[in-house]
């Protein structure tokens, strides 16, 4: 068993700051979403217009029924979406109290949390990007090698992941191709998408950069993409955390805190 230096200090700090930012942004974002839980596509979108996703409630006898509607599909979601417990009684609200910041309905406070941590996310992201390019982190650690991108190899990795078999020895010194690709998608795809679609919802930014709403097909479209991309980020984090646990929770956590990562030096099982 040998120990290698896996993560630089900048990567470790920006990673954990990112965890805090994304958590606050998700919860405060759902608070903001709750103010108008309908998603539209196009240049305008309000109550009278067609919404492709709606979270709402309707009377059901003496009680309230919560539902999620996507296109023509309607799912009863009472207890979680549309109707959930607020101060002990069932209340009409899109996302439940335990998924919003603050837990009670307060759009103004939710917006303050959201924009403050959005700034922090951007600054943190810029530090990470500058470091990644200047110190060769992206080229060295995240760019897949040609042999890693071969379809045969990729298929092998998919099967290994599905069986929760992880690399050892020399192979464990670097990220596998699926890891590299998913990190690249998050860093250069999903996170920039979040920031750009978020900025597009700002009338002030749209006046300064009018190509932004055009790029996404309008402000309501950008708002929908913001929501969908947030869901993709949540999906990434779930898989990421599962993989961290499955491939050695303590070793992975330690490497992201202290930088040290231990591997078996001969490719045998540890």
């Amino acid at each position: 068993m040998i120990s290698i230096h896996r993560h630089s200090l900048t990567v470790r700090l920006t990673h954990w700051l990112n965890v805090i930012c994304l958590t606050v942004l998700l919860l405060s974002g759902l608070q903001i979403f709750n103010a108008h839980p309908r998603l539209y596509w196009g240049k305008y979108g309000a109550d009278a217009d067609h919404a492709f996703l709606v979270i709402d409630s309707k009377p059901d006898g003496d009680a309230l029924q919560g539902y999620l509607q996507i296109g023509r599909l309607r799912l009863v979601t009472t207890g979680v979406l549309g109707v959930s417990s607020e101060d002990g009684s069932a209340a009409a609200r899109a996302f439940p109290t335990w998924l919003t910041l603050p837990s009670y309905r307060d759009l103004g406070t939710g917006r303050r949390w959201h924009f403050s941590f959005a700034w922090l996310l951007v600054v943190n992201g810029l530090i990470y990007l500058i470091h990644g390019f200047l110190r060769g982190h992206f080229r060295r650690d995240l760019l897949p090698s040609g042999e890693q991108l071969a379809p045969r190899h990729l298929w092998r990795e998919v099967i290994d992941h599905a069986r929760l078999r992880f690399s050892h020895g020399k192979e464990a010194r670097r990220y596998n191709a699926l890891q590299k690709l998913s990190y690249l998608v998050v860093v250069f795809g999903l996170l920039p998408m979040m920031i750009l679609t978020g900025l597009t919802m700002s009338p002030g930014i749209d006046a300064a950069l009018p190509f932004l709403p055009d790029l996404f097909g309008g402000r309501p479209s950008a708002r929908s993409l913001h929501f969908i991309t947030a869901l993709l980020l949540v999906a990434f984090v779930l898989v990421h955390v599962l993989m961290v646990i499955a491939s050695g929770l303590w070793n992975n956590l330690r490497s992201m805190i202290t930088g040290r990562y231990s591997i078996t030096d001969d490719g045998t099982e540890p």
Binding site: Y40, Y44, A46, S103, G108, R219
Partner: protein
């Protein structure tokens, strides 16, 4: 895993989640945290203003882009005898008072306002809640009215006093008002609109006159205008934050 252990673990998880919630709510209500979060507004305003400059225009759309139904929001019919009387006489008796730090206070009828050169713009109205609607607005640029009145030295803000009480109170503290600074007051698209979608401004949208300040969110666009007051500060008015919604927690700078 036996059921009592599972129950224990579940209550542990629920307890941890509840504690996190309470913690976040406490943080939200903490004055230091709140005032720290409020600093972001200055950062955002500074960044947006330097990016857009004074003249950058909000995107203008075409007739084909108009919302089929423009959602009316906030007050849709001011609840006062005074307003009912004005409406009954089709706003013939209505006057827009322009005062405060001006050289020549004005009292303008709707006909007076319509004699100014007008501007028509098809713009997107963005509500703080998240919906958007596109409408066509016709009105007089605020800059022209301010020019006629003439600003006195020290003028920094334009306050809009409205006819509607969004929150019914005995002391009038629920009356709608708004304020903008001179950057927005002199912006070419900042107009006092008396027409919407080719007709007179409907009551639900603020008849006889509403503000359009296109680079900011909907709550800045005060409806049912009665009086314009030019001041050096908005701190002494109502809750002191510069607007009805600002007094209730929204940012004064509503560019995002």
């Amino acid at each position: 895993m036996n059921s009592s252990r599972r129950r224990f673990l579940r209550s542990l998880a629920t307890g941890a989640a509840a504690a996190t919630l309470v913690g976040c709510d406490r943080l939200s209500q903490n004055n230091t945290v709140d005032s720290l979060l409020r600093q972001t507004e200055k950062l955002t305003r500074g960044a947006q203003r330097s990016l857009q400059g004074r003249q950058a225009l909000a995107t203008e759309f075409t007739e084909a882009d108009l919302s089929p139904v423009f959602r009316a929001n906030g007050t849709q019919m001011p609840d006062s005898d005074e307003y009912a009387h004005l409406l009954e006489r089709n706003f013939i008796d209505w006057r827009l008072q322009v005062g405060g730090l001006v050289q020549r206070p004005q009292s303008l009828s709707l006909a007076d306002l319509k004699r100014f050169p007008s501007r028509t713009q098809i713009t997107r109205h963005d509500c703080v809640e998240g919906w958007s609607a596109i409408g066509k607005w016709q009105g007089v640029p605020l800059a022209l009215v301010l020019h006629v009145a003439g600003l006195k030295p020290g003028a920094r803000y334009v306050i809009f006093h409205c006819a509607d009480e969004l929150e019914q109170t005995l002391d009038g503290s629920g009356r709608y008002y708004e304020s903008i600074d001179l950057v927005d007051a002199y912006h070419p698209q900042t107009i006092l609109a008396y027409g919407m979608n080719g007709k007179d401004l409907p009551v639900a949208h603020g008849a006889p006159l509403r503000l359009r300040v296109e680079r900011q969110l909907g709550y800045k666009h005060a409806k049912y205008l009665m009086r314009i007051e030019v001041t050096d500060s908005y701190g002494a008015l109502f809750g002191g934050k510069g607007g009805y919604w600002e007094d209730r927690g929204y940012e004064w700078y509503a560019g995002i």
